[in-house]
């Protein structure tokens, strides 16, 4: 203590500040306990006299002592735990050294939409720079570069994310404060990510595992897509930002203009995006269908009537036109999506409540698909017209209980889906038309209550979450009529109600300055989705069967545990490694229904499968990320990830001459559609004071031999791609990102790419492609 006092006095001497307490005053320096950095703007209050002051830039302060002893001084700051110190008469002359502890609930730079609290669960944040750099026009396609994140590719856009082998509604995908979007297509050509423009994003948070329960039912993971929000300024300002990108091969462009501005009271932003791409050549020269044309307009208005009380209203309208899906029986002809969104964030309620957050939304998808580019449209033109809405909201309050923080609240969503398929027999006299109902007014309501507890000590951070969901669903009778008008399938018992309890817990042990070790475990429960409950004789699976829903399915339960080790060193770099194991009960799969019970209705399928629960399935894998320290003139990173999944007892249907002739039980059949082992190595060199950074990225993907026999999956050869990257910052107003992806024109396809419809040919990935993105900020 004496040494610190001496050093402090010495520092004060150099800085010209006389700190030694004089008669009637007390002084000192305030620092962050974790890193020793001075803290400015700390409110220092003499409790006896009520007199206050604030610390300066160097963390120094001086305050009148008054006469009453001992002195009680309170130190408070928005980002740190409030501290009270008692000072006796004999210590008055010694400058105080105050170490403050960072609050767990640290409001981040980006409020409202971003994570407001530091996550204690494993989370991967993708920042704005990689999003600006990428030539990819689809969020799912972009995410495939993250460790243990894959994507099921069926067409030009709408690549469906797969995280640690979990997919579809096993993942909770949401926008900003909790807005959810329900796609219209039964074959998921428009998953939630397809309705958000990648150029609109400023951050993506990937929560792997069933842990982050406050964001909704979390079974296999939560994917939060964060867009830019309007900002408030002290004096009125206007900002303009633009993205213009173009590329060869997959010829097309992306463009975005955003105008935003505001003052202390009001904030606004208006943006418009337009992306248009054509077909592309694969590495072997084959032309692949991959055209798309999407646009979006968005308006946001924010009001801050009182400091810390922010209200945002936004409207988002996006369109997709003529988007190719060569692996599906139909292409997207049009998609019109509207999102209405209200968000509130309240802070500054005092020391007890950290913030209150609320979100109310409605997303409305109108999706039209047809088979007009398929050969069979020569005889039957089929058009599906579907509307899907998701209406809901979320409210959360984050408050302190002693040294701990609790966030509790509720969320609600209501999903409705309805639509028809119109079949026109264009080669028959009078051109007869048949209408088939696709979704029969299906409805799912989910009300959830959640609470998350976080506590921190000097060595260990703790977190625990609980969630209770009340899920209710119904639909008009599931029915399919033959052209003669007779029902070929009817299920009128469509109601189901579930109460699901999920929980998770985790701890991070800060072993020393460099190492930390984390454990997370949780049980995430999800109710069956609309397809699993109500699909009526459509080929929506990976295999070639018509599928029929099962309203009586049980909720699926994921019990997951993982261990993470983190190492951070300013000289040696950062390393993060983790392994996970997942035990899924009531795993939702499908079994064949005898033709005597239900006859298939799609030409060329092998039969009908019904969704059922199987006892259990396992998934396990690892992730490894290493990056060099940033201070060097160069940086490099290495990531590697692997997941494998097993169904202990699967049924394989034997096919001979296009007919199912028997079945066999397969022990330990791999789960379908899981990406293989892959590793990525990146290297960037920084020139001109980091303004120019050329780099190279090598992606090595192993052959996938872990294939599901029950789903007739085929193995996929391994491949290596090399990408040349270039980043140039001309000024603060202009950044240029360019590169050549697939530099050596490798002919390849991802394991999760579906096959071209009507053939066994894979949907190949683009060959060599040059791209350039300009980012302009004014």
């Amino acid at each position: 203590m004496k040494t610190q006092g001496f050093l402090l006095s010495l520092i004060c001497l150099f800085t010209g500040v006389q700190l030694l307490a004089q008669s009637g005053s007390i002084s000192g320096k305030i620092t962050d306990q974790e890193n020793g950095q001075p803290i400015s703007l700390v409110t220092v209050k003499n409790i006896q006299t009520g007199e206050t002051t604030t610390s300066g830039k160097s963390g120094l302060f001086r305050l009148n002592a008054g006469e009453k002893l001992p002195l009680i001084i309170e130190f408070s700051h928005l980002g740190f735990d409030t501290l009270r110190v008692s000072v006796d008469k004999d210590k008055l002359s010694i400058p105080l050294t105050i170490n403050m502890t960072e609050k767990q609930t640290q409001l981040s730079e980006v409020e409202v939409f971003s994570d407001l609290t530091k996550s204690q669960y494993p989370v991967l944040h993708v920042g704005i720079t990689p999003l600006e750099r990428t030539p990819q026009q689809d969020i799912g396609k972009f995410l495939r570069s993250e460790p243990n994140v894959g994507g099921i590719r069926k067409g030009a856009l709408g690549i469906d994310p797969v995280i640690r082998g979990f997919k579809y509604s096993q993942l909770n995908v949401q926008l900003n404060g909790g807005t959810k979007i329900e796609g219209g297509c039964p074959n998921r050509m428009d998953p939630a990510t397809a309705h958000v423009d990648i150029n609109d994003l400023k951050n993506i948070a990937i929560y792997k595992g069933p842990y982050a329960l406050k964001y909704g039912p979390a079974f296999g993971g939560v994917l939060r897509l964060i867009t830019s929000e309007p900002e408030f300024y002290e004096t009125y300002q206007t900002k303009v930002s633009m993205i213009v990108g173009g590329q060869t091969n997959y010829e097309g462009f992306k463009s975005r203009i955003r105008v935003s501005g505001g003052n202390e009271l009001l904030a606004y932003s208006f943006s418009a995006n337009w992306n248009k791409y054509g077909d592309y050549k694969a590495g072997n020269g084959d032309v692949m269908q991959g055209a798309s044309n999407t646009s979006m307009i968005k308006g946001q208005i924010g009001v801050q009537p009182l400091k810390g009380q922010k209200f945002f209203l936004s409207y988002d309208k996006s369109q997709g036109r003529n988007v190719d899906f060569p692996t599906l029986p139909m292409d997207e002809r049009s998609d019109d999506t509207e999102i209405y969104d209200f968000n509130y964030l309240g802070t500054g309620f005092g020391t007890g409540i950290n913030f209150i957050q609320a979100n109310v939304y409605k997303s409305d998808v109108h999706h039209i698909m047809d088979n007009k580019l398929r050969p069979f449209s020569d005889t039957v033109v089929a058009i599906s017209d579907i509307t899907a809405t998701n209406t809901g909201g979320r409210i959360a309050i984050n408050f302190n209980v002693g040294k701990s923080v609790i966030e509790a609240g509720s969320s609600y969503e209501s999903i409705t889906k309805d639509g028809n398929r119109f079949k026109t027999m264009i080669m028959q006299p009078n051109m007869p038309t048949f209408t088939e109902e696709l979704w029969n007014n299906a409805l799912i309501n989910n009300l959830g209550l959640f609470a998350e507890y976080q506590a921190t000590s000097s060595k260990i951070d703790w977190v625990a979450s609980v969630r209770l969901d009340f899920n209710q669903a119904n639909s008009d009778p599931m029915v399919r009529y033959a052209p003669t008008g007779d029902p070929v399938f009817l299920d009128a018992d469509t109601k189901s109600n579930y109460t699901n309890f999920s929980f998770s817990g985790g701890m991070t042990w800060h072993i020393n300055k460099f190492n930390k070790f984390g454990i997370a475990l949780g049980k995430g429960v999800r109710s069956p989705d609309m397809t699993e409950r109500y699909i009526t004789l459509l080929p929506v699976g990976y295999d070639n069967y018509d599928y029929v829903g099962n309203p009586k399915l049980k909720p699926e339960e994921n019990h997951e545990i993982e261990f993470d080790w983190g190492y951070q060193h300013s000289r040696w770099g950062n390393l993060q490694a983790g392994i996970f194991f997942s035990f899924v009960t009531n795993y939702i799969s499908a079994v064949m229904v005898p033709p005597s019970e239900i006859k298939p209705q799609t030409k060329g399928v092998l039969g009908v499968k019904r969704f059922i629960n199987i006892d259990k399935a396992y998934l396990t894998g690892f992730e490894f990320v290493y990056s060099t320290p940033e201070k060097l003139k160069w940086d490099a990173s290495l990531t590697a990830a692997y997941t494998t999944g097993i169904n202990p007892e699967a049924t394989h249907y034997i096919i001979e001459n296009g007919q199912v002739t028997g079945e066999e039980t397969i022990k330990n059949d791999p789960l379908p559609e899981i990406p293989p082992l892959e590793a990525t190595v990146s290297f960037n060199y920084h020139l001109m004071k980091r303004r120019l950074s050329p780099g190279i990225k090598v992606r090595v993907v192993a052959e996938q031999n872990q294939i599901s026999k029950a789903y007739y999956e085929t193995s996929t050869p391994g491949f290596t791609t090399v990408e040349f990257l270039l980043a140039y910052t001309y000024s603060k107003n202009l950044k240029v990102y360019g590169g050549i992806s697939n530099l050596f024109n490798t002919n390849y396809y991802e394991h999760l790419n579906r096959r071209i419809v009507g053939s066994s040919a894979p949907y190949l990935e683009p060959g060599r492609m040059c791209y350039l993105n300009l980012i302009i900020s004014l």
């Binding site: 206007t238 203009i257 208006f270 044309n293 646009s295 307009i297 369109q319 264009i426 080669m427």
Partner: protein, 122 residues
Amino acid sequence: MKLIIKTFSIIALLILFGACNDLTQKKVTYKATGAVSEFTLQYQNANHELITVNVTPESAADVWKFDLMAEEGEIVYLSGKYKDIHSGLLLQILIDGKVYKQGSSRYDTIKYLTVSGTIPYN
């Protein structure tokens, strides 16, 4: 300078706001010829209605014709039948002057001759 660029950007934003729909219309022509006696035609018009007409040609060289404007992806349909066993029929659908579908029959009074399809996307 920044003000000019910002103003330009706002104008560009407004243009993009208005540039969402790009529907493309095509000229569709239905043609029927080759019949020597009365025949019945059924076609889909611009309002997506099925219209039935009876046509009595003076010779096999007579051409019945109908034009309409339609969007890419719309169904075009022309179907015909004749009763005279000595007759025949050639049906054509042209899009922007080029033959898109055609079919012909001779001495077949039982089957409908139908040409149909959807207007291709560019």
